[in-house]
């Protein structure tokens, strides 16, 4: 049951009805829990044990952490007059180490499962390649592994929770069912967003009353999500899949077609992921739950740094909170920075800047390497992560140089042309990253980049894209589909510009102020457009959400 199926809509409708007619507001969360369990069981009942294990282990270890915390504090209070400063510090350090070990246990257990299922074969294959190149006959076994639905998302969400408990941000949840709901909430289980416990959980457990405005906004968001997913993403993916279907075929395309494919991928990925998130947020909104927005017009970003603050925001926030910040302020990184500051190089202007930003630059590199690996067990994802990390690292390190250039050339930073240049430049950098994402392998990603420069052939690309007789089959889409995709791009662009200009409100709220007939007509056209133009039904190969596989 995917989010775009008719069954899912019926499922949501049934859950909404039961949720709001349940007379005991206090227990309405149980409806969400049951619905989430049913949804998970229907989608992936064989692997339900994994999500239950993660929920249970995280909850119990969080309680253990909390107990250690409380016990420690109580002991400190008890020994207030007895212990001197040194003794207190020694105890606190001991406590900290103990807590770290407990947290590490939870992280190792759960990330261990994720790493094993997702990366075992990747590492085994790499090991075999390396040993093979040295003539060693040892061969690590390749296992038939599966990925339980949403494992990356619920593992990250749960591990965020355990770190927050370690940091004593809030009290641990004592009710295993409530915690299971936080981990498995059905609108977000497939592809996030990865929520923080203190943001999501209170909303989940609070019994909400039916609110027509919320219901309406939720439905409108779902409709917009359906449009992006079914009309744009699932149409574009037909052409993309044709190009990447076989490595031999991929190699055979002209550079222009590969460039077109990467551009199409940029459209598809955004429409797919943001469309899915819109559906998730829309469903949650009907229940009175506000999930964080995962996208803020990422292709309008003026720098790659900004792009990652606008794209997959919840993953970025997670990485920032739990990886980047601890790394950037870690003693190792700070010491390296200090050391550089004290050196001769550190006394120069450039050296002082580099010494200052070095911890953040390296932390960024590591974070993006992890982001790449999170996307999948393949060198192409490592390259994807490294590309983004290196660009961010370099831009951080070289920022003063860029600023100097801009000043030297008297560029007005608010000039629309300059802003457009920045957006275009960032988009190009993003596209290069996508090359590794879309290419079947790292090697082919590199080949694609070389083709950008050497293989441009517009006449041939025209035939490759649209097809020519029986000899060149095309990419599976007719010219009308490409025109439609173009029109959809314009619609999404217009909506994005409006959103960008009115960041303090939503399109839905703005629409609400328009005459009823206009709203009615727009909704009607939206529904009919999805019915006619959507890619669904057995005549089409329905595409899973891209981020479902991560």
């Amino acid at each position: 049951m995917t989010y775009t199926s008719f069954n899912f809509l019926l499922f949501v409708l049934a859950t909404v009805v039961i949720y709001f007619i349940l007379p005991w507001k206090k227990y309405r969360w149980t409806v969400l829990l049951v619905a989430s369990c049913v949804f998970y069981a229907l989608a992936s009942y064989k692997y339900a044990a994994f999500i239950i294990f993660t929920s249970l282990s995280t909850m119990l270890i969080a309680l253990w952490l909390e107990k250690v915390n409380k016990k420690g504090k109580a002991l400190l209070k008890e020994k207030k007059g007895e212990w001197d400063r040194e003794q207190k510090k020694a105890f606190k350090d001991k406590q900290k180490i103990k807590k770290r070990w407990i947290m590490a246990l939870c992280l190792i257990l759960n990330f261990g499962i994720l790493a094993f299922l997702k990366y075992f074969n990747f590492f085994a294959g790499s090991l075999n390649d390396i040993l093979g190149s040295f003539g060693v006959s040892f061969s690590a076994p390749m296992l038939k592994l599966f990925l339980p639905l949403g494992i990356s998302f619920y593992t990250f969400q749960s591990m965020g929770y355990i770190v927050d408990i370690y940091r004593e941000k809030f009290e641990a949840q004592r009710n295993p069912f409530k915690f299971l709901l936080f981990v498995s909430f059905f609108p977000q289980i497939i592809q996030g967003p990865i929520s923080h416990y203190d943001q999501l959980a209170p909303q989940l457990f609070e019994g909400h009353d039916f609110d027509f405005t919320r219901f309406k906004y939720g439905c409108e968001l779902i409709l917009w999500g359906f449009f992006k997913k079914l009309v744009i993403a699932d149409r574009a993916v037909i052409a993309i899949n044709t190009v990447i279907a076989t490595p031999e075929g991929y190699n055979g395309y002209s550079g222009t077609t590969l460039t077109f494919t990467v551009l199409l991928y940029a459209l598809q990925l955004y429409a797919d992921f943001s469309g899915g998130i819109d559906i998730s947020r829309g469903v949650a909104q009907i229940f009175g739950i506000d999930m964080i927005d995962n996208f803020k017009r990422p292709y309008f970003s003026k720098s790659i740094n900004e792009y990652w603050r606008r794209w997959h925001i919840s993953l970025g926030a997670w990485m920032k909170d739990y990886i980047f910040n601890p790394l950037a302020i870690s003693s190792a990184f700070l010491n390296a920075s200090k050391k550089m500051k004290g050196s001769r190089f550190g006394k120069t202007k450039a050296g002082a800047h580099i010494a200052k930003v070095l911890p953040t630059a390296f932390a960024s590199l590591i974070v993006f390497l992890l982001v790449g690996v999170w996307h999948g067990a393949n060198y192409k994802y490592v390259a994807f992560g490294l590309w983004n990390g290196v660009i961010i690292m370099l831009s951080t390190l070289m920022q003063p140089l860029f600023d100097a250039w801009v000043d030297k050339w008297h560029v007005n930073r608010k000039n629309p042309l300059f802003i457009f240049f920045q957006i275009f430049r960032t988009f190009l950098v993003v596209l290069v990253g996508y090359v590794f994402d879309v290419a079947p392998s790292f090697k082919q990603g590199m080949m694609t980049i070389s083709r950008f420069f050497t293989g441009q052939n517009f006449a041939l690309a025209g035939q490759e894209i649209l097809g020519k007789g029986k000899e060149i089959p095309g990419l599976g889409l007719g010219w009308k589909d490409y025109v439609l995709l173009g029109v959809c791009c314009v619609i999404v662009l217009i909506v994005s510009i409006i959103q960008e200009r009115h960041a303090d409100t939503t399109i839905r709220e703005m629409l609400d102020k328009k005459p009823f007939i206009l709203r009615f007509l727009l909704l009607f056209i939206g529904v009919v457009a999805i019915i006619i133009l959507g890619i669904y039904g057995s005549g089409y190969a329905a595409a899973d959400f891209v981020y479902m596989q991560f």
Binding site: F212, G478, K480, D481, F516, F520, L523, F524, V527, V528, I531, I532, L533, G534, I535, Y536, G537, S538, G539, Y540
Partner: protein, 399 residues
């Protein structure tokens, strides 16, 4: 106040839902309806008044390309119709026969056996089931067919064809000629070509042909399990319901060496049919003996061209009239007039097609010439233009 607000909101919601629902119906039944020559033929069949057809032929494309009802009417005086859809699978033969009996109950039913000869791994695509099921009345026969033959996960697409064919917006403006032809067909009340369709081409085989050795070839090969099940179910149904006015046939094809197995399956089907006490007339086996010309009478391996179709129609007519004693029914003046219009239309088609074959335009970029001849708007315009410009041309030239 609050109550009024609730009522307003409910009314708005219901209005939107109703409007979407209504639009979906209009889209499904008209705008996005899958319409092509199959649809036109099926629609035309149900427009024939019950009991006005003397014979109905059931089958696939071999039937509507190889049999001309207007020609049979003109030459032999009986009325007939090819109730056939493209690449029809074996599981629609029985429902086809049931539909024919329910809506026409003709004196004779001719069943072409092509559908039973597909091996299981080469069954026609599922979309070919839709060609039949989406174009017949939603009666008990339709329901039985869906329940019995359609996999559960795709059944919904038969109940709501929009789910499957919503993407046919892409076929515009190409399909306008069919939609327009369908509207005209409904206004007229009958099909001018009575289901006939052809391609103006004379086929030259470029592979080794096996037909010459068929006459004495009794060899058989088992039918695919699906084909055999459907054939036996059809025969059992006919027998159980005491339906005897049915003859099974195999239309002639050019058989490549690699299609030889299909010929042998045809022989096996004949054995099964005869074991139930029904006649099987294998035209394929005796095609050369009966005057079919491999270099003249087909437009591709499986389909007779306009010349072959007349020969095949002659053969079927002879069978029906002389072997089964079919006596043409009396027609009302209006029916006669309509059939006469069909004959005139067929003459135009024949002359047009003959000229294209003689000029060898198939596959060339000769502007404005359409080699596929069916009852769509574009073809009817072309044949009318041709008849006007070349009144003296062809076998059926106006003398």
């Amino acid at each position: 106040m609050k109550k009024k607000l609730y009522i307003t909101r409910t009314v708005k919601l219901i209005a939107l839902t109703l409007l979407v629902f209504l639009s979906a119906i209009i889209l499904q039944d008209w705008v996005l309806r899958r319409v092509d020559h199959n649809t036109l033929r099926m629609d035309a069949f149900y427009m024939e008044k019950k009991g006005t057809l003397d014979a109905v032929l059931v089958g696939a494309s071999d039937v509507y390309a190889g049999y001309s009802a207007p020609y049979a009417y003109e030459k032999y005086g009986y009325t007939s119709f090819p109730f056939a859809t493209q690449a029809s699978p074996s599981n629609i033969v029985l429902p086809q026969i049931k539909e024919v009996i329910k809506y026409q109950n003709p004196k004779m039913i001719v069943v072409e056996i092509n559908a039973f000869l597909y091996p299981d791994n080469k069954q026609p695509a599922e979309v070919n089931c839709h060609l039949f099921a989406d174009n017949i009345p939603r009666d008990q026969i339709w329901r039985d067919y869906i329940e019995k033959e359609v996999p559960e996960d795709t059944r919904i697409e038969y109940y709501i064809p929009l789910l499957k064919f919503h993407g046919s917006w892409n076929e515009y403006p190409w399909k306008l000629k069919y939609l327009s032809a369908d509207i005209k067909l409904r206004n007229r009340g009958y099909a001018l070509l009575r289901g006939y369709k052809t391609v103006s081409k004379m086929f030259t085989a470029n592979e080794k042909i096996a037909n010459s050795k068929f006459e004495n070839d009794d060899s058989t090969k088992p039918l695919g399990p699906i084909g055999e099940r459907c054939l036996r179910e059809t025969l059992e149904y006919l027998k159980e319901n005491d339906i005897h006015n049915v003859v099974f046939t195999r239309f002639p094809h050019i058989v490549r060496q690699r299609d030889y197995a299909r010929f042998k399956r045809g022989n096996r089907a004949g054995e099964i049919i005869e074991s139930y006490g029904y006649d099987f007339v294998n035209m394929e086996r005796y095609a050369l003996r009966d005057g079919f010309d491999l270099e003249h009478d087909w437009y591709n391996w499986d389909h007779l061209n306009i010349f072959g179709a007349e020969k095949c129609t002659d053969y079927i007519a002879d069978l029906l009239l002389n072997k089964y004693g079919l006596e043409p029914s009396e027609q009302t003046a209006q029916q006669k007039e309509n059939w006469q219009k069909s004959v005139e239309c067929y003459h135009k088609v024949y002359n047009y097609s003959e000229s294209l074959i003689e000029r060898g335009v198939f596959g060339t970029k000769d502007a404005g010439l359409r080699t596929t001849v069916e009852e769509d708007d574009e073809t009817l315009r072309l044949i009318d233009e041709f008849a006007e410009n070349y009144p003296d041309y062809g076998k059926y030239a106006k003398k």
